[in-house]
Amino acid sequence: MTEPVLSVRNLQVEFASRRGTLRAIDDVSFDIAKGEVLGVVGESGAGKSVTGLAVIGLIDPPGRIAGGEIRLAGMRIDNLPPEEMRRVRGKRIGMIFQDPLTSLNPLYKVGDQIVETIRTHLNLSETAARRRAIDLLAEVGIPAPEKRIDGYPHEFSGGMRQRVVIALAICAEPELIIADEPTTALDVSVQAQIISLIKRLGRDHGTAVMLVTHDMGVIAETSDRVAVMYAGRVAEIGPVQDVVRNPLHPYAKGLMGAIPTLAGEDKRLVQIPGSMPRLSAIPRGCSFNPRCASAFDRCRVDRPEPLSRGTQSVACHLYDTAPAETAA
């Protein structure tokens, strides 16, 4: 097997606060292969975005990476000096943020922002960079790019701005794109276009994509594999068809049960009772145990570690065959 583009091992991210240290990411591990799209899904505050920011090295104080390691094509990047990490950002990892309306600097022409980014990372002349910027705009589907390049961000619609943001993210041919809820702020019709654009770019350039979202529909459409996060941990990870059709973790089951289907029988959608714990009050044992219908004694004491089940990996005691005291 070839080396994965991104390999995250036992990542821990902590935020120092007045009430002590909060652990936003606890022992998260996953890989993304070349050309693969990994969907990261979970409720707000599950740690999806923080994971993305940790990978690109943009965790701001008081937050810090407290443990584990992040490797980009085998090279460790979580402990790089700031200046070297800056050179990785934008060049080897591109990032797309949630809100295209605020991602671009309103005072500069979009072309200038693209050219600036290209020239920061690639050794190109002004004219060559401008030509490349026009090509990029064409590639992300902006009509009349040679004209639009001199437009200001406010002259673009939301969907077009997100295309510009994507052009900025891919302008130095990165190996990895982190898309942090790239469609949340867009209209549904535009969402589909942006999703297929990201998918196409990933395929054409062999770029690995980490797609953070809380939209299971987007994940099902785009991703090859999916990681379900809960309270800063990966509850379940596996190929997207398997996880969607046959979720193992009770939380993943709850999430999939909450997706309405067109063919669906006329019944109420499943709702997971309660809400995710605050970071300052994560329960002992499995963090999901207070909301879990199948929780038993061990769940309140022991933290479940990831277990391999076929193509999937799940962190749940229900699948630990060793102890016999399974009382559901």
Binding site: R86, K91, D99, P106, K109, Y152, A169
Partner: protein
């Protein structure tokens, strides 16, 4: 763009008209001007002659139209105390005031922006905290006290700088400048600092607050995610976005700098329009007071106009709205 400028210019003329009415009514309400001109033992016939020669016996609307027509040509009548045309007195003193105001504003902008950016980027350093403390002093100490303290320290105790006046000036046509001689430059230092200190602290606090605000925005985060250098992010992307409110404040403050140079000019006996105005108040010299009022409002209105136009240069979004509105 042109329509926008024209519309703003028309508004400006409206404001000047209103100020003109106020300036004119000063003549009517601050006592009989003839009494100010003649001495106590002047006969009634002579008083009437003076009144007639000055046009003060005409109906009020006629007087107002005449005053306004004259003011539009920068004729403000004759000073009661100096017996000279007010416009000559003002233009003679205007270079001193403008030079002082410009130096004070440049001082305020340069140091205000530098200190503001520094204290936003290096928030927790001792120097940033010192700047904050200094800015508190600058904002709360009254101008005349700062002037007197500076005079005591640098003129009286150390003897480095002159305590009053403009030093040697050079005549360039009708303009006199102190910028070309050493004594003129030395004389400019303390009044500029005194006059500009408040503005400097204001700009510093504004730049700091705006900069901290801008550094939290999404497009700065995105700029970092694109791997731009810290320098490009701070000084290219963040500072430019900070400058819009700074232009407003600095521009509007330039008007106040000229208006409030009265105090600084009095403390340093600076031979500018402010000092002239203070003397005019003491002598109830209404033509000078009215002309000064008109001058200061003209400056304010012009600056407002320039600031409005400058916005559209900095912020492309305004260009669009302005274009649409026009």
């Amino acid at each position: 763009m042109l329509a926008f400028t024209l519309r703003r210019a028309v508004q400006a003329i409206g404001v000047m008209f209103a100020v003109g009415i106020i300036a004119f009514s000063m003549f009517r309400f601050a006592g009989d001007p003839v009494n100010q001109i003649v001495s106590i033992d002047t006969s009634a016939a002579e008083r009437e002659a003076v009144r007639k020669s000055l046009g003060l016996d005409d109906p009020v609307p006629v007087q107002f139209v005449r005053y306004f027509a004259d003011a539009a040509q920068f004729k403000f009548g004759v000073s009661y105390q100096f017996r000279q045309p007010v416009s000559a007195l003002l233009s003679e003193r205007m270079p001193a005031t403008l030079e002082l105001a410009i130096c004070a504003t440049v001082f305020a902008m340069v140091f205000g922006i530098l200190m503001g950016v520094y204290s936003a980027l290096k928030r927790d350093t001792a120097l940033a905290k010192l700047f904050q403390a200094v800015s508190l002093i600058g904002i709360s100490l009254p101008t005349f006290l700062i002037g007197i303290l500076l005079i005591y320290l640098f003129a009286v105790t150390l003897g480095w700088l002159p305590s009053f006046g403009r030093g040697e000036v050079v005549k360039l046509g009708w303009w006199t400048t102190g910028l070309l001689t050493l004594s003129g430059l030395k004389a400019l230092i303390m009044p500029s600092i005194t006059l500009g200190l408040f503005q400097m602290t204001l700009i510093m606090r504004l730049v700091r607050a705006e900069m901290l605000e801008v550094l939290r925005t999404d497009y700065i985060r995105f700029a970092r995610a694109r791997g731009l250098t810290t320098r490009a992010i701070h000084f290219g992307h963040a500072l430019k976005n900070t400058l819009i409110p700074v232009i407003t404040v600095a521009g509007l403050q330039f008007g106040s700098v000229i208006a409030f140079s009265i105090i600084t000019e009095t403390v340093f006996q600076w031979p500018g329009m402010g000092l002239l105005f203070v003397q005019a108040v003491q002598n109830v010299d209404i033509p000078i007071m009215a002309a000064y009022l008109l001058m200061v409002s003209l400056i304010f209105v012009t600056i407002n106009l320039v600031v409005d136009i400058l916005y559209t240069v900095v912020d492309p979004r305004l260009r669009a709205t302005v274009g649409r509105a026009a």
